[in-house]
């Protein structure tokens, strides 16, 4: 039995891993850590975050099937490359994010533009030292990726000759509701995207038994 199972290999999870080390199990559906920032195109530090996941047990490529309580512990049923497998822990911290936890979301694009882009109603962030920009395209909170890319494609159609898409996001960029973190049915919900940047998220994980829980 683990002391804690963390759902999502996020930056908050990286902080918790640093704190709990081998007593911690991190479960991640994707093949990447820190996806809530990297997957939304906030680059940098991709290599270093994995060092934290060396310190704990981390399982990638697993979906969460169910979570139930039994004899004061949590049983977490997962499905991964070798089928179903159940893990047990004293506590569960969910660092993932979904539409129910959020007020809005964007689908981000990394673009190259010779001049500063001028897209009305879109937040555009310059990547320092480059002619690259992160374009935050607001999409309906409950829309899927197909719908999001349909919206984004219309934006691409407004590109000038000197503007080019470099990369589109693999994840939605969520704006989390103000009432997080919170605890429900014994599970602590601490979405990593609650924090403005990856450093703050990591520190929140590191401080998991300090300020956050109080």
């Amino acid at each position: 039995m683990y002391d804690v199972i963390v759902l999502g290999a996020t930056f908050v999870a990286a902080g918790i891993a640093e704190r709990y080390k081998e007593k911690c199990l991190v479960l991640e559906r994707r093949l990447q850590a820190g996806y809530e920032f990297f997957g939304t195109l906030y680059g940098g530090g991709e290599v270093t975050v994995y060092r934290n996941f060396e310190k704990c047990h981390t399982i990638f490529d697993v979906g969460i099937v169910s979570i139930k309580r039994e004899d004061g512990a949590f049983l977490c049923v997962t499905h991964g490359v070798d089928g179903f497998c159940t893990y047990k822990a004293k506590r569960i911290i969910d660092t993932r994010c979904n539409a129910d936890m959020c007020v809005s979301k964007t689908y981000n694009l990394l673009i190259e533009s010779e001049e500063e882009p001028d897209f009305s109603n879109l937040y555009c962030e310059k990547v320092e030292g480059h002619n690259r920009y992160i374009l935050h395209c607001e999409v309906p909170l409950y829309c899927g990726y197909v719908e999001a890319r349909t919206i984004v494609k219309k934006i691409l159609e407004g590109f000038s000759e000197t503007q080019r898409l470099i990369l589109s996001a693999n994840e939605f960029d969520y704006r989390v509701k103000a009432d997080y973190p919170k605890k429900e049915n014994g599970i602590l919900y601490l979405p990593s995207r609650l924090y403005a940047d990856s450093v703050l998220a990591f520190e929140a994980g590191l401080d998991i038994d300090g300020e956050v829980l109080k």
Partner: protein, 625 residues
């Protein structure tokens, strides 16, 4: 009776289900919307079938998009995918720097316009069967579990995940140690002018073991290469790992390299695959004898081959209602490194879609569909063209030394008198393989060449004699090994072997007992690695100039270990001597440090460790015997 089949803790578990309540029903469910799956779903929908696509990522395309492999490596153009590709190129020209982004947007839009329902961030976790016919799947989505019915399920997971759940038989890895090809991590980089992808190969991974897979992800994504990204700026790591090889189904018709080399071809092809037997592992010494005779013994590893892929290679043996139109199709391990390229995956998607369409519209089982009808459709689209049956060829853009390469067909020599001309060169592979094809009629000519003063003719004739299983030239082969002949043969644009390694290979294949002391000295003498031959520039150009890895020495040691194992296999009295040598050399890591300074989890470190694993496996096998 209907059964639900699942995998629990790595084991198949099947239970009876009286009345499954399917929430949704489709003509076709495509599991995995990667290179093949996305197009299989599209072509099915264009044929008027109702389609559900299930994909683990948040977009489609797999290796062709989130895997960062945008282009086409060989294969034969043609078929329905070319129309889609045109739309992708139009999009790329107008809006983006990268093919992968174009594909992501265009294929998805086309799919949805055709009415394909897509479940992203979802995976199949169970299969419904009626006897040996797949009738539906259980899907794990972000919102929970959903049971869906289908006339035909397409397993496009690249790993035969659905087929394995259903109980279909599969194979994986090479015979010597079960290892697959090295995996790589791909990154999007910027060189100051253009955006492109760069991949770094790591060691082998068992991608069906969640712990080992996860350890590999943590190591490889966190590993900072000494070389960095060769001066390029890292933009992003691609989310999908570059796993090159996985499970392969045992199909109703499975293609095997041995039969390909015997010119045996299926008479029911769905398309022709065309590429080299593209092995990324440098430890080719352990890749088996069928491939070894070709890639090592004849130095033809980068020659292109044509494979007629039978349509029944995507139907798991004994099953119906399921097709496996992806990398996991029915080919053996040696052929799989050829039949995995993007064009092949697009063509297999088309064949599967047409086959499914015929079955559903004619209300037949898959195995009842007429090949002639399928063939007609595939020929009409250009997926199957007799002109694609191009045999063996030298292809590519650059020779090993960077000079321009002129692609051409390979003509095998049929007259023994014509062998000399080629054997005299530093590219003797075509002649050596021709000897294999013509058989013993070449022996008398080769026998004369063994006493020739021309070094190339004498040595290469010895290789040709060896490929016939004839030991008459073993003395010449031994001389080549003793002098540590480091000449790099020059048949191929890449993967060329050193002549000394080829000689070791053949002495092992022929079970030559007299070479044993030399080979033991080669692997055990600490001064061996300091020899000039291993430092020569021409030796290093044999493959990548990798810092911290003695490529030429690695090749000699790995070939020597495999040769000693082969010799020990046929001469049991030599086993104690070989066993003592292996135990002495591999009981510590001195041999490792002589070969590489790289970490054990890197591709180079992994391959260096494999030498030891192979050696100890042989000892265990002999002890049991």
């Amino acid at each position: 009776m209907i059964y639900l089949s699942e995998i629990v803790n790595g084991e198949q578990v099947t239970r009876e289900v009286c009345e499954p309540s399917f929430e949704k029903s489709f003509d076709v469910i495509v599991c995995g919307l990667g290179t093949s799956g996305s197009l299989a779903a599209l072509f099915c929908a264009e044929n008027g079938l109702s389609v559900l696509g299930v994909e683990a990522f948040s977009c489609l395309g797999g290796t062709h998009t989130v895997g960062g492999v945008p282009g086409h490596y060989f294969g034969c153009p043609g078929g329905r995918y070319t129309t889609v590709e045109q739309d992708v190129q139009d999009f790329v020209r107008r809006y983006t720097h990268t093919q992968t982004e174009g594909r992501k947007f265009v294929v998805e839009q086309t799919l949805t316009e055709q009415g394909v329902e897509i479940f992203y961030e979802a995976s199949v976790c169970g299969v419904y069967l009626q006897e040996n016919t797949v009738i539906g799947v259980r899907v794990l989505t972000e919102c929970g579990i959903l049971d869906c019915k289908a006339s035909i399920v397409m397993d496009c997971t690249a790993e035969a995940c659905v087929a394995v759940m259903a109980g279909c038989e599969t194979e994986i890895g090479r015979k010597t140690d079960g290892q697959t090809q090295p995996y790589s991590m791909v990154s999007l980089v910027f060189d100051g002018k253009n955006y492109g992808y760069t991949n770094i190969d790591f060691g082998r991974v068992n991608q069906h073991d969640r712990v080992k897979l996860s350890e590999a992800i943590v190591f490889s994504r966190g590993y900072k290469m000494e070389e960095g990204h060769k001066g390029k700026e890292l933009i992003a790591q691609m989310p999908l790992m570059g796993v090159r090889e996985g499970r392969r189904i045992i199909a109703e018709e499975t293609v095997r390299l041995k039969e390909l080399f015997e010119d045996k071809q299926t008479d029911t092809p769905m398309f022709y695959s065309y590429a080299d037997l593209d092995k990324h592992g440098w430890d080719i010494a352990f890749d088996g004898e069928v491939l070894g005779d070709w890639a090592i013994g004849s130095n033809l590893g980068a020659y292109n081959v044509t494979v007629a892929v039978p349509y029944k290679a995507i139907l798991p043996k004994g099953y119906d209602g399921i097709l496996v139109p992806c990398r996991a199709l029915g080919v053996d391990r040696d052929v799989s490194s050829c039949v995995r390229m993007n064009r092949d995956m697009k063509k297999v998607a088309e064949a599967a879609a047409e086959w499914a369409d015929l079955a559903i519209k004619q209300n037949k089982k898959l195995r009842e569909v007429s090949y002639d009808q399928l063939k007609e459709r595939l020929m009409e689209s250009g997926c199957l063209k007799e002109s694609d049956n191009r045999g063996y060829r030298v292809d590519g853009t650059r020779n090993w030394d960077g000079t321009p390469l002129t692609p051409h067909s390979v003509e095998w020599i049929v007259d023994p008198e014509k062998l000399e001309e080629v054997l005299k060169t530093e590219a003797p592979g075509r002649a050596i393989w021709s000897v294999k094809r013509m058989g013993t009629k070449a022996e008398s000519v080769l026998r004369q060449h063994l006493s020739a003063t021309d070094e190339n003719l004498r040595k290469h004739s010895a290789f040709a004699m060896a490929i016939l299983g004839n030991c008459e030239a073993n003395a010449v082969l031994k001389d080549i090994v003793i002098e540590r002949d480091g000449l790099m043969l020059k048949d191929c644009r890449k993967h060329n072997n050193l002549r000394g390694c080829v000689a070791i290979y053949w002495l092992g294949r022929l079970g030559d007992r007299e070479i044993v002391p030399t080979l033991i000295d080669l692997i055990s003498n600490p001064d061996e690695s300091c020899k000039e031959i291993y430092k020569r520039e021409n030796a290093m150009t044999a493959r990548y100039k990798m810092r911290g890895f003695e490529y030429a020495y690695f090749q000699f040691v790995s070939q020597a270990v495999m040769a000693l194992i082969r010799i020990g296999d046929v001469h049991s009295d030599l086993r104690p001597q070989i066993k003592n040598a292996f135990t002495s050399v591999f009981s510590n890591d001195d041999y490792y440090h002589r070969i590489t300074t790289r970490p054990k989890e890197t591709s180079e470190g992994n391959m260096t460790q494999i030498i030891k694993v192979i050696a100890f496996s042989a000892i265990r096998k002999w002890e049991i015997e």
